[in-house]
């Protein structure tokens, strides 16, 4: 009551789920870098650099999954094109990292990235201006996905495109972007994308310290995004969205402009996906048009479905577990990984319609102590989309 902070803290940390999720992420942000940098390599407690890189990558996927759960789980918007927002955020960061290479490229050209020199370009295209500056690039990381989502959502939601039709046009959007980014004359490195990054904010991208900081930033970004999503879904706005998910027509007759509500979460979600992409690129060292592939966007849905749609922490868990399995299986049985992924999705749909967090008691935390607010946020029944 005294200030705005009270309700926000309650929305995020008011139940066991919130405290556990935020606690674990903050602990990881501190512990993993410490165990990586301060504990000697021989010690059993040492976290080797490749593990830092791997989990750091999973965390960016967790952030991406959160962005999808926010719209799919809480507003019924099944986007099959969210990989596009992730990739755009990634490209914005990649462009900055390209500009940071300076004269250290193969051609030693301070004005142009290598691929432009190779294509015989004489000057930097206008849309690369400003990316030298980190603050500008950071702004673009959220602005470009946000504006695309705003424009796309404006037309789609105003025309009341919903359900499977919306899913199809989001898929078409990411596919179109993929084709565009594959073209050399677009000026984003074509097929090869952007790579050979050297440093970020003056710190060597290969250095253990830089990677540890990127890891910590990713973990904290997931915690921050989780908190933001919690605040949104716990607010009246979140309840309107839930109502839209369950009975969109009814919400209109109550006088709500459904399209604006959808637009709001869609844009927020696209921005979160952009941030995920921006954290992903420096950790994996490359961004190419493959990130726009429609299959990538479908994979995100699988992470969320496996973890448990409409719970937020389920999305984080699903992204990490599925990607861990993917890393393991692509190494152990590379031929059948895709079948395993498909099978996983079918199995989850059939046997765990509420995902891991809705089924496995150990993950149903929040039920015991003061969790009423949270339980209310978790949909009681799964099939809400068929209804008008």
């Amino acid at each position: 009551m005294r200030s705005a902070a009270g309700p926000i803290v309650t929305a995020v940390l008011g139940d066991a789920t919130g405290r556990i999720v935020v606690g674990l992420l903050v602990a990881a942000a501190v512990a993993v870098p410490v165990l990586n940098l301060m504990v000697p390599a021989g010690s059993p407690l040492h976290v080797p650099p490749y593990v830092v890189a791997l989990i750091g990558k999973y965390l960016t996927f967790a952030l991406l999954a959160l962005s999808v759960d926010l719209i799919w789980g809480f507003a019924g918007i099944l986007s099959l094109g969210h990989g596009a927002f992730f990739a755009l955020g990634g490209y914005a960061m990649g462009m900055h990292l390209m500009r940071q290479i300076g004269t250290r490229g193969v051609y030693g050209n301070a004005e142009l990235p290598d691929f432009m020199v190779f294509l015989n370009w004489k000057e930097l295209p206008w849309y690369w201006y400003g990316f030298d500056a980190f603050p500008f690039a950071a702004l673009m990381v959220v602005l470009v996905p946000g504006v695309l989502a705003l424009v796309f959502g404006w037309f789609a939601f105003r025309s009341r495109v919903t359900g499977v039709y919306l899913s199809i046009i989001t898929q078409a959007m990411t596919f179109a972007l993929m084709l565009a980014f594959f073209r050399n004359d677009m000026g984003f490195g074509g097929n090869n994308g952007l790579t050979d990054f050297k440093d970020i904010l003056g710190f060597n991208l290969q250095a253990g310290g830089t990677r540890a900081v990127l890891f910590a930033a990713s973990a904290l970004a997931v915690a921050g995004a989780y908190a933001l999503c919690r605040v949104i879904v716990a607010s009246r706005l979140g309840r309107v969205l839930l109502a839209v998910r369950d009975a969109e027509g009814r919400v209109r007759f109550l006088g709500y402009r459904v399209e604006y509500y959808k637009l709001f979460v869609f844009v927020v979600s696209a921005m979160l996906a952009g941030i995920a992409g921006a954290l992903y690129v420096p950790q994996v060292g490359i961004i190419n048009p493959g990130e726009f592939a429609p299959a990538n966007s479908i994979e995100i849905i699988i992470w969320v479905a496996v973890g448990g749609r409409g719970s937020l922490h389920g999305a984080i868990l699903g992204a990490i577990l599925v990607n861990f399995a993917k890393t393991y299986l692509t190494g152990a049985i590379p031929e059948i990984w895709l079948f395993a992924l498909g099978g996983l999705f079918v199995a989850v749909t059939l046997f765990l319609p509420k995902g891991i967090v809705g089924t496995v008691p150990a993950f149903k935390f929040g039920g015991a102590g003061g969790g009423w607010r949270w339980r209310r946020l978790v949909p009681a029944r799964g099939r809400s989309e068929e209804r008008p």
Binding site: R236, R239, D246, L254
Partner: protein, 255 residues
């Protein structure tokens, strides 16, 4: 039309449908329908299945755009040009034939979502109930007899309770005009009687249009009755009058 009712007085007419036609694939669901509702009036609309009762409500609330005709609200606004949200905010509330509540949210939250007030996205982000608003919801829970079920999920209510919840949501909107489509379906006799009494209490301050098949319910409403048939008004008057109307008798019994 003029023999059916005196010309509407602009001042105290809240709703005026003028020559409204709606067709679906050539089939005329509403056929040059004209009728009006006075401010504060309770009106019952009856008619056989497919007469166009629900379609009439769809037209008034912006769900369906008429091919022809005007729908004038509050002496001036033409509703046919507006969308659902705008019409709702002008003060027209609607209860659907099939009760439609938000199943995955609590009874309390359903009422809270319907609460009259700001509908803006950003306001809703920081929205907190004032003690007065909370009190209003509590009173409404009492009115619709759902105080005990306030924390229950709306999806877990019985059919009759959902009807009451939806009526409660309608009232939370504080509308000038309520369109209530078959409120008594799925209710026991006692509940039906209570619903009729509730709607009678509501009218007066507001106008209420009730569509219902249940003749006992219509009798209990004790209101002016409009009979729709094949998309237009067949008869209008007290229940006794229309029940003795030869054309009405034929429509209801002659098939």
């Amino acid at each position: 039309m003029s023999e059916l009712h005196a010309s509407p007085q602009k001042r105290d007419t809240i709703l005026y449908l003028d020559g409204v036609s709606v067709s679906f694939d050539g089939f005329k669901a509403l056929n040059n329908l004209s009728f009006y509702v006075l401010a504060g009036e309770l009106r019952a609309v009856i008619g056989p299945n497919g007469a166009g009762k629900t379609t009439m409500m769809d037209v008034v609330t912006g769900k369906t755009r008429p091919d022809e005709g005007q729908v004038v609200f509050n002496g001036g606004v033409d509703l046919t040009a507006l969308d659902e949200a705008r019409i709702a905010n002008l003060g027209i509330g609607r209860k659907f034939q099939k009760p439609t509540v938000f199943d995955t949210q609590s009874v309390f939250d359903n009422l809270e979502l319907a609460l009259a007030g700001s509908r803006g996205v950003f306001q809703s982000l920081g929205f907190r109930l004032t003690p007065e608003q909370r009190l209003r919801i509590d009173e409404m829970l009492e009115t619709v007899g759902l105080t005990e079920r306030r924390a229950a999920l709306a999806g877990d209510l019985s059919h009759g309770q959902k009807q009451w919840l939806e009526i409660g949501m309608l009232l939370m909107q504080d509308p000038h005009l309520l369109l209530v489509d078959e409120p008594a379906a799925g209710m026991t006799d006692a509940e039906t009687e209570e619903t009729a009494q509730l709607l009678k209490r509501i009218a007066g301050d507001r106008s209420v249009v009730v569509v219902e098949h249940d003749m006992e319910f219509v009798r209990a409403l004790d209101a002016r009755v409009t009979v729709l048939h094949e998309g237009s008004v067949l008869a209008e008057g007290s229940l006794a009058t229309v029940q003795n109307d030869a054309r009405v008798v034929e429509v209801y019994l002659g098939r």
